[in-house]
Symmetry: C2
Subunit: 339 residues, 2 copies
Amino acid sequence: MPNRNNRPTLSDVAKLAEVGTTTVSRVINGGQHVAPEMLARIQRVMTELGYQPNQAARSLKNARSKTIGLIIPSITDPFFAHFAAVVESVARQQDYVVLLLTSHDRGERELVDLEIFERHRVDGLLIAPPRTGSKALMEQLKRLSVPVVAIDRPLSSQNYSRVLCDNYLAAQHAMQHLVKHGRKKILVLGGDPNLYTIRQRVDGCVSITSSVGLDSIVEMEAADYPSAEAAIMKRMKQKGGIDAIFALYNQSTIYAYEVLQNHGIPVPQRVSLIGFDDFTLASTLRPSVTVVGQAVADMAKTATQLLLNHMSGETVSPQQIEIATNLVIRQSCGCPPST
Amino acid sequence: MPNRNNRPTLSDVAKLAEVGTTTVSRVINGGQHVAPEMLARIQRVMTELGYQPNQAARSLKNARSKTIGLIIPSITDPFFAHFAAVVESVARQQDYVVLLLTSHDRGERELVDLEIFERHRVDGLLIAPPRTGSKALMEQLKRLSVPVVAIDRPLSSQNYSRVLCDNYLAAQHAMQHLVKHGRKKILVLGGDPNLYTIRQRVDGCVSITSSVGLDSIVEMEAADYPSAEAAIMKRMKQKGGIDAIFALYNQSTIYAYEVLQNHGIPVPQRVSLIGFDDFTLASTLRPSVTVVGQAVADMAKTATQLLLNHMSGETVSPQQIEIATNLVIRQSCGCPPST
DNA sequence: CTGTTAGCGCATTCAT
DNA sequence: ATGAATGCGCTAACAG
């Protein structure tokens, strides 16, 4: 006797199995305190009817939607795509489903995303915030009133856990590596300077150049090929020029590579190249590209599990976790081919 | 006077605004038939309280969850990542949110995914099925009883709309292009032969080779680098060898490229290469890689809008839409550099 | 234009 | 071990 949706309800099951709704409910929730034969009978009826509990009803009753919200800049960015994949797989093991929204690193959009999640009553939130925390963002997060874990970039409030990578250290290592190769005029090719990650990386770079007594050459404009080209070639043509580039994120690495290639500048002979963040064909290009590798899967798994812990009720204090990066040596930095 | 979740409810708003719940409900749903001052007053109270409607309650009442389910093999596959990005952006414009689940092209997992969606009562489904339709899958889809649009690969039932690309034609074009370059021994490097897309592409290839009177050389084992290498080198070493490779999907293209590069086989002089599906660095590699480009964004937008149409209630008959591909000429096929 | 009321499907006291 | 009844937050009749 299904309802208007022709979908069977719990009470349909109860009726057909000739039991009370309570018992059916118990079966749905693990079947404790239910006689074995009863349990079997109800389960039979459930499969017979093709019954599946209505999550909306359960959410209303339990105040738990069994969803977690994920806000990332973009799902086409390989780093975040990988991240999202891991989140999905960890979440589903705990019977959670992921609501995915993108922010394109725009604060207003992020606020809208949070509003949507508020309506959908997500039980927890993973967010890679473009800014560490405007007032509006912080208020919105407080209103959401669910556990939050910041990923890749922190939130300004210490109340929220964060899972990041060691941007500062990683940048230092990369710069030191270039210095070891004897490079003296290293162009640090930036990205959006408002992003925490970028700022940390720049700071790491500067700490090295200044401690070693080199000039700090930083260009932040590299949002697309033309601007990257302009920035690089401007520096190339200056007196002294440059002999290395450290590109601070995925895309700028690729632009830098293309610029050098298109201008016939030999890598690494004339200019060394290191990029932040590994990418699919980094080892296939000739020369292959040395990069700072982030342990994405590790970060994502850690963040999701941490969030689930926060959600479990036992009050876990906010944590700040930094996942180590590793320099993936290939040939664009000047190292000899391995094997 | 918030409830146990400390979240205000509709009736909290009603009380504070000293109106009935119906009026508040009307405001939430567009504010028709509400006096202007009343509307303003209620809206003020809503923002004051930070009220957001509880979607679970609305779902229960309206039998619409405002979610659409998306099942793809993997979110790290650039093709599907791009697809998902477009789905999200189109869906959110209509106030829908996307529930993302991956199948890894495994039928059992797909069934579980559908069960999860059934509980969450998605209002519509986009699915890239690994197989065109086992009995179990078809039953599960019928039970879901919401509009379904198959993407990238069809479902066997004519009852479901599908948005595909013209795999057969595209493969023919690619092969004809290689033939025009005078290639006579073209290796078709396959993928999972159970996938509809792969089968169509193989068929397209064979139709050309046989109509032109060439041998059909097909290798389906290219799931990873070693097997791709084995397949390619086996053919290379045979009497006559091969003078071109048409790789039938994203990954196999990359493997093929790497194999040729690692074995020092000059491309396109000795062996031409064309791949199915464009990828980020295809134009950056040297030689750049000629590919069959799929209009991903177009496919995704079309599919999502079609789904939303189906969901809108007006019964739209199932449609079969094929989005045209285009051969992106670069240098690995043997064409001269442009400009 | 506005308010009262009765469920949507489920979990949960509190009985038995 | 089981069942009857209540309410989660919201919308849709119906009045008025």
